[in-house]
């Protein structure tokens, strides 16, 4: 009953004309960003965040949430029509979506993605309504050791999910945590690593870093590696968007399975929508009676990952709202937004800012519906946007990033810092150091350090405090296993040739 009452309250906030407009704006911008090359959801949110200083936080977060799940809808269009993923979460859609387009079924691919995303998104919001408050209640039992364990576990999961070079993931995380230590130490007031520069005493602002890393780094990468593909020239009429009965029957359970997989993967800190879509595709292929047909243009190959990425984009808000731990780069940027507005996500958010939480949750029903309608009726418009050259967009990205960095403290020093981080991000990408762990390390670094110091103060310097409290022990065990996973995999790989020889 509580949930229904809260949902009613949420709708009374999200159904105001202002918030509907912000939801629509977010969904539209998200879809646009998904279609446009070289700009992702973290970039869009990072560049718009400084502009929302004076906005009502509820309206702003509704807009950013709309951008986050809108991006996956938009990325599908380029995946299907050009065979280039507009977003990392739509990589799997390329495999079958483009093949469907080559067979003249681009409309069906796009609409199955839209419908699948809407159904899975709606299911995910309903599950979020149950999970998020329960998670928040559970998190009320957390103390400093639990928060430190959770932060360590999040870093560790990034190592597992973070790509094929785990040691570089760890290094990037450590760099991010180090950057978070720059400035005045909150406990002792001692300046750390500011080297006499007064602008660094307050630390390096997160907005400056994300404008550099998600703005400028992406520009340098996109210039060096332009996405080139041939746009499928297919006239799409409204009737082309309807699925045949066979296609609907083939895709309906794929949508449900994808949605459930996506929801649970999105709940894991550092899980993310890309991992969700990947796992959903693999699961669907494994369960299929004709796995050999995947990759040739089967509708389940589109419906499942699309359902998963949308569900994950919604469930990713659960750890953010209930624990204050971001589940993806985009929610990491949103966490910075919360701090900017003076709101602390975590278990008390559901008590102290219930209107924001339930306004946000209820707005996702509205946003998903808006995106479904947009994807059915506005596809030709977004296809037209595909033709805008990146060489026009990149100048405007620099404008947004520069103004965004400047607004932090109205200081050109921050603009130069932003450029520095943009170059750092570019060099890291070139050397195959992942960026996401750096961002997560930055976001969670202060929390991790404060929790560590508080825990050691409580225990009189003993590390046993992390292993004698059950919840902290659970997180620490998960963290240790996550860090050891690459070593175990390496060990098994080394043993395999020896086992084959022995046989």
């Amino acid at each position: 009953m509580d949930i229904l009452q809260n949902l009613y309250m949420g709708f009374s906030i999200s159904l105001t004309p202002t918030n509907i407009l912000y939801c629509l704006a977010g969904a539209f911008i998200g879809q646009l960003v998904g279609v446009l090359p070289g700009i992702g959801a973290p970039t869009a949110v990072a560049l718009l965040l400084p502009m929302t200083f004076s906005l009502n936080p509820t309206s702003a977060i509704i807009m950013f949430a709309g951008i986050y799940y809108g991006v996956a809808y938009g990325g599908t269009i380029t995946s299907v029509l050009i065979n280039i993923p507009g977003e990392s979460s739509t990589v799997m859609t390329c495999l079958d979506g483009y093949q469907m387009a080559l067979k003249g079924r681009a409309g069906a691919a796009l609409s199955s993605a839209a419908i699948g995303s809407w159904i899975a998104g709606t299911i995910a919001v309903a599950l979020l309504m149950c999970f998020a408050p329960a998670l928040a209640n559970f998190a009320l039992r957390f103390g400093p050791p639990e928060y430190f364990g959770l932060a360590l576990m999040s870093f560790g999961l990034l190592t597992v999910f973070g790509g094929d070079q785990p040691i570089k993931s760890i290094a990037a995380t450590l760099m991010g945590v180090f950057i978070a230590t720059i400035g005045l130490d909150v406990v002792s007031g001692v300046p750390r690593f500011s080297f006499g520069v007064p602008q660094l005493l307050g630390g390096v602002d997160f907005i400056v870093i994300i404008c550099g890393i998600f703005g400028l780094t992406e520009i340098f990468n996109s210039i060096e590696n332009p996405d080139e593909g041939n746009l499928i020239k297919q006239k799409m009429r409204l009737k082309d968007l309807f699925l045949t009965r066979a296609e609907w029957l083939a895709s309906r359970w794929a949508i449900v399975r994808g949605g459930i997989i996506g929801f649970f993967v999105g709940l894991i800190p550092a899980g993310g929508i890309t991992t969700a879509s990947f796992l959903a595709y693999l699961a669907e292929k494994r369960l299929s009676k004709h796995p050999e047909k995947f990759g040739t243009g089967v509708i389940e190959g589109v419906a499942s990952p699309e359902a998963a990425n949308n569900a994950a984009s919604i469930s990713g808000f659960a750890p953010l709202l209930a624990l204050g731990i971001p589940g993806s780069p985009t929610t990491a940027v949103m966490l910075a937004g919360f701090m900017m507005w003076g709101i602390r996500p975590g278990p008390l958010l559901f008590q102290n800012n219930a209107d924001l939480v339930w306004g946000l949750i209820s707005s996702k029903f509205i946003g998903n519906l808006i995106l479904l309608l947009m994807n059915i009726f506005l596809i030709p418009f977004f296809v037209m946007i595909l033709r805008v050259p990146y060489t026009i967009l990149m100048g405007f990205i620099v404008v947004f990033a520069t103004v965004g960095a400047f607004t932090v403290s109205n200081n050109l020093f921050d603009v130069w810092m932003m450029l520095g981080f943009g170059v750092l991000g570019y060099v890291m990408t070139k050397l195959k150091y992942p960026i996401v762990p750096l961002v997560l390390g930055l976001v969670l670094g202060r929390l991790a350090e404060n929790s560590l110091r508080q825990s050691l103060m409580l225990s009189g310097g003993s590390l046993a405090i992390f292993f004698t409290r059950p919840i902290a022990l659970l997180f620490m065990t998960a963290a240790i296993l996550a860090y050891l996973t690459p070593l175990i995999q390496w060990g098994l790989k080394s043993l395999r040739p020896a086992a084959v020889k022995a046989a």
Binding site: L174, S188, E224, T391, I392, K432
Partner: protein, 148 residues
């Protein structure tokens, strides 16, 4: 690429050791518990350890011949140079004119777009930046010699 990995690893090693050095000058423990130097010291040690592992792996891995500098890297460096020049000119030209000029010039040099299109973009961007950020969002953007 192997050389780049080695160089990258050595830079990270240097960075990690620098962090260890500067952290060692901060109090490790304080009156109330762990001091400001505790976490940074261990971060530096961790970074140095990662760097050594990266260097060792790079030494063992044969060079796959993947080039660090690609044909279009030069264009990226051009873009970086233009951004630096733009930022240097911001105090003189102001944000609206300076950034609009950068947008138009980058379209011309990198995108090879026509002069008319670049000129129109310059005018539109200058007006847009001034009115959207300066007036509507009330961001106190520095003005230049033109008063914008």
């Amino acid at each position: 690429m192997r050389f780049a990995d080695l160089l990258g690893g050595m830079i990270v090693l240097l960075f990690g050791l620098s962090i260890v050095f500067f952290s060692s000058q901060l109090p490790y423990m304080s009156e109330y518990g762990p001091g400001p130097g505790l976490l940074p010291l261990w971060l530096g040690v961790g970074l140095a350890g990662c760097a050594i592992a990266i260097i060792l792996k790079a030494l063992k891995t044969p060079d796959k011949g993947e080039a660090f500098f690609k044909p279009r890297t030069r264009i990226g460096i051009q873009m970086l140079a233009m951004i630096v020049v733009a930022f240097l000119l911001l105090p003189l030209l102001g944000f609206s004119v300076g950034l609009a000029l950068f947008t138009a010039v980058s379209m011309r040099i990198i995108g090879k777009h026509g002069l008319l299109m670049c000129a129109l973009t310059f005018v539109g961007a200058a007006i847009g930046i001034h009115f959207i950020f300066g007036e509507w969002l009330s961001i106190p953007l520095p003005t230049g010699i033109a008063g914008w």
